[in-house]
Each structure stands twice: as structure tokens, then as C-alpha cells.
């Protein structure tokens, strides 16, 4: 028998009025697995996150966490999950420590045990020297680290994170990744995170690509990239539109316009790059050949470019 999935989503659908946010979403997350929900703003990932955090009931379908149904038994779900919200759920007028104390009390923790956990938690996010500071005096990145410490304080089995690295600098992002990897090793933490950052998704076991409320793909990053195949040629040109039209005409290819430039997936990318350089020479600013990234996967799967540069979730 298969073990109970850490998170199970079965035919979830949700609409706001007449606008479909999620359509027939089905997938499982195994215990100890790290899965990223990747998609541009408005793809439905925050809606799914809120459903799993028991803050919203889906219009259709069922979801469960470690066997407990989010609709029928939210109490059991809430005891097992830790939630890192995109906009930190902290009280700015309380100190870092007071926020964590309060959070512990909500989970039935108190006294010396709670105090020890707070010390360890703040150590984990390198904020032990800021425990007496009022939260509204901290920088955005520090607040996010407090939020992360808070969501781990009660030692959840499943961690739900909504855009966890918003506002974190690269060093803090790395130390968050290390912290989570350590918790997974030590006690089999499962993590489901929404993200619009390709490099954050890349380090997860599997990536679920959400596009306009639908699951476009769910697989290991390497497998997703393999489905694009070969190499990706990226062309930067002053007149991108004009060059794209000529590539279509003369080479019979379908370049896609992205933020990075014109992208063309081709099994023999380097040979194509040479031909393009020869043909367009002076009109091209740069031409690069690379292994496909998750961005290319998104482009291939949805036919649309990935616009994930904003910080708002969808």
C-alpha cells in the first residue's frame, strides 16, 4: 500500500463569481517531498495555497493533508501544517519574541519549552540578536525571516509557503534553502511552496506548473527540461519583431518573444545559432545557446511567456 500522501488534491476547482481561478486540479505530494507550484501572477497558486491552509473552501473537489480533509476536519489539518504567508502574519507593534510567544500559545505551547523553541527558531533564521526589536522596525527581509521562524515553531509535518523568498537577498535565500533541507533530513519535513522564481523551483523535487488555473505539468525539473529537448537559442535584437518575422519566413521556425529575447528550441541549437548569426549579423545584439530552463518549459507548455517578475501572488 502506498503511504498516505502528505498533501492530496483531488479535482479541486474554484471560482470567484464567474472568474475561474482553479480548474480540476489533481496531484499528490509524498511525505518528505519538496514541491514548487510555479506560475505567473494570477495563475491560481495563491488560491490553492489558501484552500490548503484551511482559509478558504474550494467550490469543487477535495483536498487533504496527511489524510485529514481540509473541509471536513480543518482542526486536524491546522495542527499538522505550518504556514508562511506572503504578507507576513506578524503584529508590527509586538516584538519578534512576543510574536513568537503568541504564536506558540495558539498551538498550545508555553513556558520553558516554548521559550527554548523560540531561541532555536530565531537562531535558525539568524535573528537571535533581534528578538527584542519591534517587528515594524525590522526590514522586509527580516520580517519574512521572522514569519518563517514562526511557521516552523510548532514543528509542523507539512510546510506551506506562499512566495517564501519575497524580499530576501540571495544570502538569506540560500540560508533558507539550507534550513529547509536540514529539517527535511532531520524529521522528514514536507514542503509545498508557491513561487514565481525559477531558481527557487529548480531546487525542488518536483515542479507543478500552473497556467490559468490548470495544472500544465508536474514533474522533476530535469524531466521537465528534457521535454523541451536539445538546446535553446536566445536572440537579442533591436527590432525583435522584425527579426522574428524573418526567422519565421526564412527558417520556417517559430521564435517566441520573451523578456530575455527571442527563444527558439532546437535539437541542434549551436548549429542554428551559427546560421542565424551569419544571416542577421548586424541586426543582432547577442545570441546565446543554453540548456533549457524552466522558463523554456513554461513557454513550451503554455505557448506564453512567463511574466513572473512582480511580487504579487495570483
Amino acid at each position: 500500500m502506498r503511504p498516505t500522501p502528505a498533501v492530496s488534491v483531488q479535482g479541486i476547482g474554484h471560482e470567484y463569481g464567474s472568474r475561474m481561478a482553479l480548474t480540476d486540479l489533481t496531484f499528490d505530494v509524498a511525505p518528505g517531498e519538496f514541491v514548487a507550484l510555479l506560475g505567473p501572477n494570477g495563475c491560481g497558486k495563491t488560491t490553492l495555497f489558501r484552500i490548503l491552509a484551511t482559509l478558504m473552501r474550494p467550490t469543487r473537489g477535495r483536498a487533504s493533508v496527511l489524510g485529514a480533509d481540509v473541509g471536513a476536519d480543518p482542526g486536524a489539518v491546522r495542527r499538522r501544517i505550518g504556514v508562511t504567508f506572503q504578507s507576513p502574519s506578524l503584529d508590527g507593534r509586538l516584538s519578534v519574541r512576543e510574536n513568537l510567544m503568541h504564536h506558540g500559545h495558539l498551538y498550545g505551547l508555553r513556558g520553558r519549552e516554548l521559550s527554548a523553541r523560540i531561541d532555536a527558531g530565531l537562531e535558525g533564521v539568524q535573528l537571535h540578536d533581534r528578538s527584542g526589536d519591534r517587528v515594524d522596525q525590522l526590514s522586509g527581509g527580516m520580517r519574512r525571516r521572522v514569519e518563517i521562524a514562526k511557521s516552523l515553531l510548532h514543528e509542523p509535518d507539512v510546510l506551506l509557503m506562499d512566495e517564501p523568498s519575497t524580499g530576501l537577498d540571495p544570502a538569506a535565500r540560500r540560508s533558507l534553502a539550507d534550513l529547509l533541507a536540514g529539517l527535511r533530513r532531520e524529521r522528514g519535513l514536507t514542503c509545498l511552496m508557491t513561487t514565481h522564481l525559477m531558481d527557487e523551483a529548480e531546487v525542488c523535487d518536483r515542479v507543478a506548473i500552473l497556467d490559468r488555473g490548470r495544472l500544465a505539468a508536474l514533474d522533476a525539473p530535469s524531466a521537465l527540461k528534457a521535454c523541451v529537448g536539445g538546446e535553446v537559442v536566445t536572440v537579442q535584437a533591436e527590432d525583435a519583431g522584425g527579426v522574428a518575422a524573418r526567422i519565421r519566413e526564412e527558417f520556417g521556425l517559430a521564435p517566441q518573444e520573451t523578456d530575455r529575447g527571442l527563444c527558439i528550441a532546437d535539437p541542434r541549437g549551436h548549429a542554428l545559432a551559427a546560421r542565424l548569426a551569419e544571416r542577421f549579423g548586424d541586426q543582432i545584439r547577442s545570441i546565446t545557446v543554453s540548456r533549457p530552463s524552466l522558463e523554456d518549459v513554461f513557454l513550451r507548455l503554455t505557448g506564453r511567456r512567463f511574466e513572473g517578475s512582480g511580487d504579487m501572488g495570483g
Binding site: 507576513p88 502574519s89 503584529d91
Partner: protein
Amino acid sequence: MSDGAAGVLAAGSLARREVVRFLRQPGRIIGALATPVLFWFLLGSGLGRSFNVEGVGEGGYLEYAFAGALAMVVLFTAIFSTITVIEDRREGFLQGVLASPAPRASVVAGKIVGATVLAVVQAGLLLILAPVTGVRVSVGGIVHALAVLTAMAGGLSGLGLVAAWWAESVQGYHAVMNLVMMPMWLLSGAVFPASGASGWMRAVMAVNPLTYGVAELRSALGASREALTAAGAPGAFSSWVMMIVFAAVMIAAGERLAGRRPGA
């Protein structure tokens, strides 16, 4: 830890937070205390000299209006303390509470207890000032008054919580609650006694839950039963029944609402 103990721990922590937040906003303390003192002084000395208000008793209007000032502190503090529900939702704090295993009943209880404590402590501070201004209150009277203030605050913070849970914005909540609170206060016997009011006003005063609190407050502050009856105020028994029923209904409504509507 049992579910009950965990619920009490969660509610206690939420209530404590309300008090700590309040103490860290000096503007709120000043506003909540200065407004009723000012109202009492202006109304008491202004109205008392200009008009001969019937049924105010021997102590004169200043003494009559003191119970009204106490009622105002409780009314404003209890109801506006629940505004934190809207702030908590906007700032994202509430979603963290609602995603925690703390029972919804604890969340509501924490808010109501917090608002009640703030309201009673502030009204209590005004009560301590009473002798300075010539209103004499016995120790028994103070205990009596605090009991009345607690019952009133419980009901009013329940009312505020229900409204805040539905409200979309702080501004909207302010507008609506002012519309409710000012008539509620004016038609409670706080400013003028029911005996001198017209028929429809007396009917409104009879269904206004604050009327019963004000009557019991005046009784605690030394007004005789005869004077109260002469002023058209309700009796002690009906006052307590009405205060407790109002509080029970409002708190139950808050519990129901929080259990049903996610609110974050």
C-alpha cells in the same frame, strides 16, 4: 494539554495582545480618557446651568451626567477596541490566527475579553477621579459599578466584533458605528432622563440595551431607587436581566459568525 486548556491559553494570549497593543498606542489612551471627561465637563457644567433638567436628582446635573460619562467610556472603548479585527485582517495577522488550531471560540473570546478589560479599566480610571470632581462613591458602589461596567463592556464588545467581522474597512466601520453609538448613548438616560422624554423616545430608550446599564450605574453611584423611578429608569432586576441577555446574545452572535465566515 487538553483542548479546553489550549483554548484558554489561546484566548488569554489574544486578550493580552489587545491590551499590550493598546498600551503601545498613546493616542488611543488619551482619546479614550479625555473624550468622556471633556463631554462630561462641557455637558455637565453647560447644560446644568442653562437648563433645568427635570428628574436629575439632588446632586445636580454634573452628578447626573457622571454615569453617562462612564457609559460613554465603556461604549467607545469596547466597540472601538474591536476595530483591531479589521486591522488584523488588513495587516495579515488574522490569517495566521485562523490557520492555527486555536478554536474559533477562543479567537472570539480573546477579542471580547481584551476589549472588555480595556473598557472596564478606562471607565475605572474615570471612576477613581470621581471624588476629585465632587461625586462621592462608596467602596461598595465602586464594586457595584465595576460589575455593571463589565456586563456592559461584554455586550458592547460583542456588538463591535460582529460589526467588525463584516466590515470591509476601518472607515466604513467608523461611519456605521458612529451612526449607531451616538443615538445609543444619547437615548440611554446618559444625557437626559426618560421621564422628560416624548413617547417615541421613551420607547426607543426602553429597547436600548445601554439604558439598563446607565440605570444600574446611577444606582451604583448612589442614586436612590425612588430618584431612579422618578426619572423613568428601569428597575435593578430588569436591568441586570437585560444586560446579561444582551451580552449573551452578542457574544453568541460573534461566536457563530466567526465559526461560519472565514473572515480573512
